[in-house]
Amino acid sequence: MKPIKSLSEICLNKKAKVIDIKCNDDEKRRFLDLGIVKDTVIIPIFKSPFGTPTAYEIRKTIIAIRKENADKIEVTEI
């Protein structure tokens, strides 16, 4: 079992799998809308010039998420 990290800690181009989303229902809903649930595979692919937000590949789409929000998604590298 690999250690649990937050999504913002995953290096670019490394695959990660969602374990849990630790935030209030409203924010959770937004992640859900974009297709982020338990077991979803997420790959960080590029960063904004100022370091945040980061663009992630999620279910064949590219979604930008701020560091503060990505902190709340728990993942493991796969």
């Binding site: 409203d26 809308d33 649930v37 279910r59 590219i62």
Partner: protein
């Protein structure tokens, strides 16, 4: 296809009320995730020109149109894009309300062939509400290019509803869609949607999780991929456009190139139009002379109305007609969400939303459209910040004035090629000042009247799409030209008459216009310009396009015919009336920072439903402008004292 006359100006104020006409046999709802091409399908079917562009969230209210198929009339409702029906942003509420209302006979869910898996989430949610669903898989051309194949029969079987594959840009591929809609409406096809099984005590989170799992399974069965790295080209472009060192400079360079092309290109049509208008004016004088018209009739109609109209068209129209297609090009390409991505951290530091960058970009086209565009921002606090600061980017109606002044006073310093580069840099600096002010005021607002923390931010970055250049050119020039002409006739013509009357009716040999200008003069002097300039800005509230024409009318009140061959001659008039380099700088600052036009104010009133925020939207940029102009004037005078 960029902003159209329907998506800018006063048309924004019309409510998109549902047509109560019972003339239609069937009503068709058009739903789908943001940016999958719903509006393109809508335009292709109805022949209308709703604003489309490559970024999520353009359509912010229901749009309505009609089309005929087999002599039956169909009413088509374009519903704002939404990822889900279970969230709570404004456009999602609109979509949910409409689909739940059961108004439509059939709901067409448009999905993106390149990201079917995520899109199916909404399909399942809608199938839970209504039975008559058609899944319309759009963007087949893009999928084909990326080597993605979808088995439509299998998909239809797995979902239990009809599935049609189309490429909305190519109108002929839509015939299968219209046929299927007709078949479902008339009961020839009976769909039997396969619902996701869930127990009553599942909350919405668990339901969505189940839906997503099911979507994943379905996609594994129906989609096949030729190549693994089909997105490689997009990723390479993204890495350059958002890179640490090049991201921001490239953004500024794009803006610079657009302005340079506008400045260079506007010169020739401007000259042509001016000489055409002045030769017509000579004929008009002859005509009025021939019918023995009294002097004041000639004055009102030729010197007042005609002259103002001629200036609006010849000076303001060419830059607008060039800027617009260029901007639309970037929009259709999919660059705007990348701007939001690049600038998000700056907005976050101001406790605002990164999506404000999108509404800010819209402001370049039309501030009223920018204000409406703020609906894509989910948090009310962040939306208000975006609305209040939207006027800090100069709209299409204002920056021909910036271009004209910078061409005369800064461009004049250089020769040939250097001249247009110098004016481009000047305009660019003014825009950067505007963007800086946007950040600055956003920060102040979120520390004072709109206190709060940044909310969560997620933004989809769509794939790059090749813009349809021919279509952009035809639509934006045609649409814009007509729109500006219409506005010119309705606003500039009466203002022209009023100005002429003010300039020619007077007490004790001093015209009313002079009284007004003299009244403002002491205050205007503090800001480094004269009373006429301030008068022109105030009279320009109905439409910013007419500020410069009004100003020229004020200066030329002596009724002498001046043949304005090109921009430099406008410069001569301005210099004769005491303009210096300082005046030019201050007028440019004030053009950027002053009260928004009447249409924008009305739109803000409608969007915020509050007099307080409308007043703030009026007063904040005005105070900024006045203070900044006073500072430059003071600084200039102090420096002069010591030199």
């Amino acid at each position: 296809m960029g902003l159209t006359s329907k998506s800018t100006g006063t048309n924004l104020l019309d409510d998109n009320n549902f047509i109560k006409n019972s003339d239609y046999e069937f009503i068709v709802g058009l739903a789908g995730n943001p940016n999958v091409g719903k509006s393109t399908v809508f335009n292709a079917l109805t022949g209308m020109h709703q604003h489309t562009g490559n970024w999520p969230g353009k359509t912010v209210g229901n749009a309505i149109g009609e089309y005929k198929y087999k002599d039956k009339k169909f009413l088509l409702v374009d519903i704002p894009g939404t990822y889900s029906l279970m969230s709570n942003s404004e456009e999602e509420e609109i979509a949910k309300d409409y689909i739940c209302s059961g108004n439509s006979n059939v709901t067409v869910v448009v999905v993106d062939a390149t990201s079917l898996e995520r899109n199916l989430n909404l399909v399942f949610q809608i199938m839970n509400i209504t039975k008559n669903v058609i899944v319309c898989v759009n963007l087949l051309d893009e999928a084909k290019k990326k080597g993605i194949h979808i088995n439509f029969e299998l998909l239809s079987e797995l979902l239990g509803v009809p599935v049609v594959g189309i490429t909305a840009r190519k109108t002929r591929t839509l015939s299968r869609l219209t046929q299927t809609i007709d078949n479902v409406c008339s009961g020839k096809i009976i769909s039997n949607p396969k619902h996701i099984k869930y127990s009553d005590n599942d909350d919405s989170n668990e339901i969505v999780a189940k839906i997503l799992k099911k979507s994943e399974e379905i996609c594994k069965k129906v989609c096949t991929y030729d190549k693994q790295n089909y997105n490689e080209r997009d990723r390479k472009i993204d890495k350059i456009l958002t890179s640490k060192f090049l991201g921001i400079p490239i953004m500024i360079a794009f803006l610079g190139i657009i302005f340079w092309l506008t400045i260079e290109g506007a010169n020739y049509p401007s000259k042509l139009l001016s000489s055409m208008f002045s030769s017509i004016q000579v004929q008009l004088y002859k005509f009025f002379n021939w019918i023995n018209a009294p002097d004041f009739v000639t004055g009102i109609f030729v010197d007042g109305m005609y002259q103002t109209l001629a200036w609006v068209i010849s000076v303001m129209l060419p830059p607008m007609a060039i800027f617009f297609p260029l901007f639309t090009f970037l929009e259709d390409l999919g660059y705007l969400p990348r701007i939001a991505f690049n600038l998000d951290n700056c907005f976050k530091k101001c406790c605002a939303s990164g999506k404000q960058a999108l509404s800010m970009c819209m402001g370049f086209g039309c501030n009223a459209a920018g204000v409406v565009g703020c609906r894509i921002i989910n948090s009310t606090r962040e939306k208000l910040i975006a609305i209040l600061t939207n006027a800090f980017v100069p709209c299409n109606g204002r920056f021909p004035l910036l271009i004209t002044i910078s061409t005369i006073f800064v461009g004049g310093l250089g020769i040939g090629f250097g001249a247009s580069i110098l004016s481009t840099i000047t305009v660019l600096l003014v825009i950067l000042l505007g963007i800086f002010m946007t950040f600055f005021i956003s920060k102040i607002l979120s520390k004072t009247v709109l206190k709060g923390f940044p909310s969560s931010f997620t933004l989809e970055l769509p794939p790059y799409r090749r813009p349809q250049i021919g279509k952009i050119l035809v639509r934006s020039i045609f649409d814009r030209a007509l729109f500006v002409l219409g506005r010119a006739i309705s606003v500039a013509a009466p203002t022209g008459i009023v100005i002429w009357l003010l300039a020619n009716i007077g007490i004790h040999d001093i015209s009313l216009l002079e009284y007004i200008a003299n009244f403002f003069d002491p205050f205007a002097k503090l800001m480094g310009f004269d009373g006429y300039i301030l008068t022109a800005f105030i009279l320009g509230i109905p439409a910013n396009e007419i500020v410069l024409p009004i100003l020229l009318m004020c200066y030329l009140k002596s009724n002498t015919l001046v043949d304005l061959e090109d921009t430099m001659q406008i410069g001569t008039i301005l210099v004769q009336n005491g303009w210096t380099f300082l005046t030019a700088v201050n007028v440019m600052i004030f053009t950027l920072l002053h009260f928004p036009c009447a249409t924008t104010l009305l739109t803000i009133k409608k969007e915020t439903n509050s007099k307080k925020w409308t007043f703030l939207a009026f007063i904040i940029p005005t105070i900024c402008g006045v203070v900044l102009c006073m500072c430059t004037t003071l600084a200039y005078n102090v420096v002069k004292l010591f030199l």
